[in-house]
Amino acid sequence: MSGAGAIARVVVVGGGITAWSAAAALKRRIPILDVQVVSSPPPPDALADRMINTLPSIGDFHSDIGLSDEDTIVRARSGLRIGTTFKAWAENLPDYIHAYGNYGVPVGGVAFHQLWLRDHYPHGRPFDSFAPAPPQVGYGLRLTTELYQQLMRDYSHHLGVVERPGEVVDANLGGADGFVEALLLADGTQIGADLFVDCTGPAALVRSRLGDGFDDWSRLLLCDRVVIEADQPDADPPLLDEVAATSAGWIWRSSSPSVAVKGSVFSSAHGADSDGAIPLRQGRRSEPWVRNCVAIGDAAVTVEPLEWTNLHLAHSQIDRLVSMMPDAGFAPVELAEYNRQCNAEADRVRDFLCMHYVTAQRTEPFWKDASAVEPPSSLAHTLSLFAERGRLPYYEEETFARDSWLAVLLGQGFLPRRIDPLADSVTPQEAERALSSRRQPLAQAQPSYRGTFLQMGQGQQP
């Protein structure tokens, strides 16, 4: 090795869910590290710290760091969610459901959507009537963010993470190598470390000192404002959240029994601005990790909350940080591989969100502009292959599975020109028989929140 030695001391900067999650994961999975959090309240534009809706991957994150459903659902009073209902994204088409899991079943090696196109489109059952239903569906959580942040903080303390409240005002960069030597806090204290993990939201207080290269997505994702407001919780909330298109963006509402929010996302260039709206500059840092400072969460990627990827991306970056931990030499080749993977993942999330707009069917000026953007080449490739014969190419580091792409594409009426020739080998009768095991449409099978919760708790009831 370079003789640099192991990384011993890590300082995480930030005080929100992202920072505490990073601290807990680092300390739990690499216990030899000395992990300190320089904590201050997260800024309002750190969406990963604020959004209550999360994806099923949150369960993997919890089990990787040794937290149970008892901790994260029961104690932290989280709700459950299995997907999103999209309303009015395509005028003249019904609402559609994007639920997490497999739609239908493949038959004889032929993908289900090919058979659906042949046997059910346009006069049979809608595609989302084959959406996964409990128990074959993936569950995300609806967080009670204050409690969840407290849980991660308590857990970090329990694992031996040291908290040092304080505002970072500057970072001292070392001599020729340009490494961060120490953080300067408002009270004059200096805090040194081998590695600095920046979870301070889009401003990236520390990481931004090492260069501000930014891959701007505002040309692709036109929304630049978010409003988040508290709402009255439902006693028995539905498992699906609603996301409805508006004239210049979209609105949502989601509720667990403990907490509810409603919000809107829109383009300020296409409609009235709103007081209290949070500005959003969508894009990602060109290199999230430079020298001994890595940006996590909104500090690395800022993206609108459509499809609720904010905390997912933070978790994924944390997982990658833990599994790719280099030594104190921070060899560029190792950082480059980390950055390559993070960027590929972020770009594919961008593609997935951009796809919602490009294939939407609405007529207002915002929607015309949003659907007329020139998609990035990876998305253009995906859409053109799909349009040809319903194929979806694999990309590295993809967050959303093929069936998620299908749910949105087919839900918005974006259809292939023809179907897979292999479908010939399966008769409609065979396809129907294979589906009979999954006959329960999601809408009918949807149990109440409590029913699912108890089923999931399996004896460890609240």
């Binding site: 090696g109 020739p421 010939d424």
Partner: protein, 504 residues
């Protein structure tokens, strides 16, 4: 949909590639195409790929082929991996197994724990001793993998070693039963449509003209349609893979019927040993810049284990591929599309990859440029990834005993490979790909087997207490060894399951 006229497919050449394509199309797309195959008995087949990768099992399953029948017909044996002798240094040996190291369970790859044990001074055995497939291979054992992932007997996969000259006739009987039409004849001209430039027809020596909608070029190295007629350029990779000849000679099997193929490094290349039921295949793959044909021939004859049963035969090739494998209405499959030496048994895999992509992107009526581009993207990716993996075998060496090894040890390798090697050398990281044919354990096997030993390890491997980790590694090694020892002998397994028919 479904009522359009069938596409008329003409397969050019009847070797392994040709008959694999014909059998796959007639089985999988019977309503979409009719298949005509032109071959000439006067032209020999190269018969590459006596050794295969586990993916071949998926191909056979899709075609509904009964394994025992197939193995008996092709005089096949089982294959658990490839043994490399003398690659890192003279005297070194390792197996690239079709399977994992360790139990395949847990958070991080087993080799990280292995590196930690080594770094902290604990006793560790060679990495291969913690692999079920490697243990079985060295003991000449074979049994089918168990389905339960919790069991160590589930951690391996297998392929076949078979006589490729018998595989084509076996597939031919399937394809012909399903309606493929075979035409005996020698192609003298490829006729192009004057307006579109597409292939219109093939003119045979006897004057017949065979037209079609889609031509599948399986003509081998001559690359009759895509290369000669359509002029698609060939990307030459011989600066990275300088071997350009092989001399092949089968012999009687004198030693064990090993459930693995051997690749033995030689002064100007390497030598294969592939044990079949009735004979052992041998060949010396060499670089003609570094050794003459005569020298190579005598080196091979001197090295084989048993009496030769045919005269040594020399083949010439160039490593590389056509820039595009699908051009106009011609899809090249197998050697017509490119060549990578059989060091990792990828020839048949590449044929299979092309056929799978073609089936998935099969045209109805007009050929869509989108489908064609996607096919080429997929095939390029396969070639490029295998290329890097093969280059690694040559480059990761300390040998300096001959000009050939000096060249490959010091040559510049593609950047993509340079970075991969560096990431492994530092901390044992394997760069993941989603669709590559060779998974992490394959890369680990070659790196470690050829002395690219990580200088550090993943910090997560430090989590378990050292004593406990050392004990569980010992227990795993003992379990693997005991389980392998109880499995049936490879030869008796083959003789009971799929004995070849008596020679005709």
């Amino acid at each position: 949909m479904g009522d359009q006229p069938k596409l008329s497919v003409v397969v050019v050449g009847g070797g392994t590639a040709g008959w694999m394509a014909a059998a796959a199309l007639t089985t999988l797309l019977p309503t979409r195409c009719s298949v005509t195959l032109i071959e000439s008995e006067a032209i020999g087949i190269v018969g590459v790929g006596e050794a295969t990768l586990p993916h071949i099992r998926g191909f056979n399953e899709r075609l509904g082929i009964n394994e025992a029948e197939f193995m008996a017909a092709t005089r096949a044996t089982f294959k658990l991996g490839i043994e490399f002798q003398g690659w890192g240094r003279i005297g070194d040996s390792y197996i690239h197994p079709f399977g994992t190291f360790g139990s395949g369970q847990g958070d991080i790859p087993f080799h990280q724990y292995w590196c930690r044990l080594r770094d902290q001074g604990a006793q560790v055995a060679p990495l291969g001793e913690y692999s079920m497939a490697v243990a079985m291979a060295y003991m000449n054992r074979f049994a089918r993998p168990e389905p339960d992932p919790a069991r160590i007997e589930s951690t391996f996969n297998y392929a076949y070693q078979f006589d490729a000259t018998l595989f084509a006739p076996f597939l031919r009987s399937i394809a012909e039963r399903l309606g493929a039409v075979r035409i005996e004849g020698r192609i003298v001209e490829v006729q192009l449509n004057g307006e579109s430039g597409d292939v219109a027809a093939l003119l045979l020596e006897d004057g017949r003209s065979i037209g079609g909608d889609l031509f599948i070029d399986c003509s081998g190295f001559v690359s009759l349609v895509i290369g000669r007629a359509l002029g698609e350029p060939f990307e030459d990779w011989s600066h990275w893979l300088p071997c350009d000849r092989a001399v092949a000679m089968p012999c009687r099997t004198e030693t064990a019927l090993t459930p693995y193929t051997s690749a033995i490094a030689m002064p100007a290349g390497w030598r294969w040993r592939i044990p079949l039921q009735h004979r052992t295949g041998n060949g010396y793959v060499y670089a003609s810049n570094f050794i003459s044909d005569d020298e190579a021939r005598s080196a091979l004859v001197g090295a084989v284990e048993g009496e030769g049963i045919a005269e040594p035969r020399v083949l010439k090739f160039t490593a590389g591929r056509r820039t595009r494998s699908w051009v106009r209405n011609c899809v090249a499959v197998g050697l017509a599309s490119g060549f990578l030496e059989p060091l990792e048994s990828t020839s048949i895999y590449l044929i299979q990859a092309a056929i799978s992509a073609l089936v998935e992107l099969f045209p109805d009526g007009e050929i869509s440029p989108l489908d064609r581009d996607e096919f080429n993207r997929l095939i390029d990716m396969e070639y490029d990834r295998i290329r890097d993996f093969l280059i690694l075998h040559y480059h990761a060496t300390e040998r300096s005993d001959s000009p050939f090894w000096d060249y490959v040890r010091t040559m510049t390798v593609p950047d993509t490979l340079e970075e991969k090697i560096e990431l492994f050398r530092r901390r044992g990281r394997v760069v993941k790909y989603r669709e590559g044919v060779f998974l992490d354990a394959s890369w680990v096997a070659v790196y470690m087997g050829q002395r690219i030993i990580p200088e550090g390890h993943d910090m997560r491997a430090d989590l378990p207490p050292l004593d406990a980790l050392a004990l569980s590694a010992d227990a795993l090694r003992a379990e693997i060894s005991a389980k392998a020892a109880r499995m049936p002998d490879h030869r008796s397994h083959v003789e009971a399951y799929c004995p070849m028919a008596a020679a005709a």
